[in-house]
Structures are given as structure tokens and as C-alpha cells.
Symmetry: C2
């Protein structure tokens, strides 16, 4: 895998973008779910996300101001990607929400628990100096809620990374 | 699961947020990887993402202007979430990138292939009126590259969903 990556680096500086200055941007993260109505309730009624009017009985779009979070039946998602729907255990991807204060984190984790989430890890001090907890959504997708004193959040709540 | 979700909906309108007007926001998506150096090459040299100087030998942060994309060893990610690292097959989560034109999509998919990605689905017309293809990153995480004529992208390339 390393060789093709090197090769492409020689071909173009930003091969993924037609605009030289633009960084490639993930626009949508789709969570495969087994019960769309249940997941919509969990994320909207439980966690307070707003469903876009572009949502329908087949797919739900949650606008978060940065990346769109989509909920879509797991089997159909695999079919769309042309991969086998078979799979079990840890999927290897987590989603995180950074909050601005420890107290906010505790409240968010408790709210997720009340919405039916399974708490995977109670909020605790992390080795990197922050504070972090995890819950699983109704399909087991792990969400981290985290407070990082070293990271700056902008007014809209987005992480501002150093260049 | 439905009952706790309903219950919490009665408790608070936006339980996940301390600011009434703010929508909860996913801030980071972490891809568990088996070879951090290889994945950094794939995403930075291959796909043109920029690694933040907050990155180090243990974790890589890619700033995308909306959500932070992090690369982190898969086993350590499972350990952090306190779940078993065991897992195989489709993980149930996909990441997508919306582009503004069909030609841009074809170029992006070809660039991903040259960077060492496995093409899962060649770009093709989708039943919902768009155009879409998929590739897998070095760890098999599925990425969709998609053109949706019904969706508006803002100047920064973020999807603008109807309310």
C-alpha cells in the first residue's frame, strides 16, 4: 500500500481537490442502523439533534453545522457500498463530541444514558490531560464525549486545530 | 430502547446541549487503523489532507474545516472506548465526501485509486438522482464520493441541508 501512496504524491499535491487551496472535506457520516424509527427517536428526541426536512421514511439527515450525520439501514448501506453486510463486533470507527467543560460532559453522558444509550465508559481523567467517556447508540456505534483542555472550540463548537 | 428515548424526550427538549439554541455537534470521527504511518501517507500524500501539528507518532489529526478526522491504532481505539477490539467485516459506518460536479467525482475516485485505495463501486448513476462511487481506505473503511444535484454546498464545501 505504501508504494502507490508515494507514487500518487508525486503526481499531484492535492489530488483530491480541483481547487488548489481547498482541503478535502468529509461531508457526511452515515451510521448503519437496524431500526430507523428507533434511531431517529434516539438521536432527535433523546440527544436533541434536528432532522432536516430532507429526511424521509428511508433515511434521516441530521444537520450538525459541520458534517451531516445520516441514519440509514445497515444492510442497505452495505449494499450501496457494494460490500458484504456481514460484520460483527467493533467496527473500527468512533464518533466524538467535544464539549467546553467537564460539567457539560457529565450532563451529556447522563442525557445519553437517559435516552437509552449504553454507557461504555464512565467519564474519567484521560492520560492526555482531558476528561472522556463513551456510550453506545442503539446499534452499538461508540460515541465519545470528551473535554480537551488543550483544544480550542470556536463559537459554533467546532474544534480549531493548530495548523 | 424506544421507551427510554420517549421518556427522555419528556425530560428536556435538547438534553445534549447546555445552550438552548445550539445543536449537538459531532466534532471528531476517528478511524481505527492498523498501520498509522501507512494511513497518514494514504490520507495526506494520497488524498491531500493536511495533518495538524497537533499530530504525533501516536495519533494523526486531519483538519477538514468541519469535523476533525483522526487516525488512531484500532486496538487502542477499542481500548479507549472500553469495548472488545474483536470485530470483522462491515463496521456499519461510512464516510462520504460530496463534490460539486460529476467530473470532480470521477477525478477524486481515480486519485483515491492511485493512492492505493480499493475501488468498491465505480461511479454510477444512483436511484435518487445523483452519481456515486465508493472506495475502501487501507483498513477497509468505506468512503463514498458523491454528487447530489439536489444538495447545495456552501463556499467552504459543506452541505447546506434544508431545515
Amino acid at each position: 500500500m505504501a508504494k502507490p501512496a508515494k507514487k500518487s504524491a508525486r503526481v499531484a499535491r492535492r489530488p483530491w481537490s480541483t481547487k488548489p487551496a481547498a482541503s478535502p472535506r468529509p461531508t457526511v457520516v452515515t451510521l448503519g442502523v437496524s431500526d430507523l424509527a428507533r434511531s431517529r427517536r434516539f438521536y432527535c428526541d433523546g440527544l436533541g439533534f434536528s432532522a432536516s426536512s430532507a429526511s424521509n421514511d428511508h433515511i434521516v439527515f441530521l444537520d450538525t453545522g459541520g458534517v451531516v450525520l445520516a441514519l440509514y439501514p445497515r444492510d442497505l448501506l452495505a449494499k450501496d457500498a457494494q460490500v458484504s453486510p456481514k460484520g460483527s463486533g467493533f467496527g473500527g470507527i468512533t464518533v466524538a463530541r467535544n464539549v467546553g467543560a467537564k460539567a457539560e460532559l457529565d450532563a451529556a453522558l447522563e442525557a445519553a444514558r437517559m435516552a437509552g444509550a449504553k454507557i461504555l465508559k464512565l467519564a474519567q481523567e484521560a492520560f492526555w490531560g482531558g476528561y472522556s467517556g463513551y456510550f453506545a447508540d442503539p446499534d452499538g456505534h461508540p460515541w465519545e464525549v470528551t473535554y480537551n483542555p488543550h483544544w480550542k472550540l470556536d463559537a459554533a463548537g467546532r474544534v480549531v486545530l493548530p495548523r
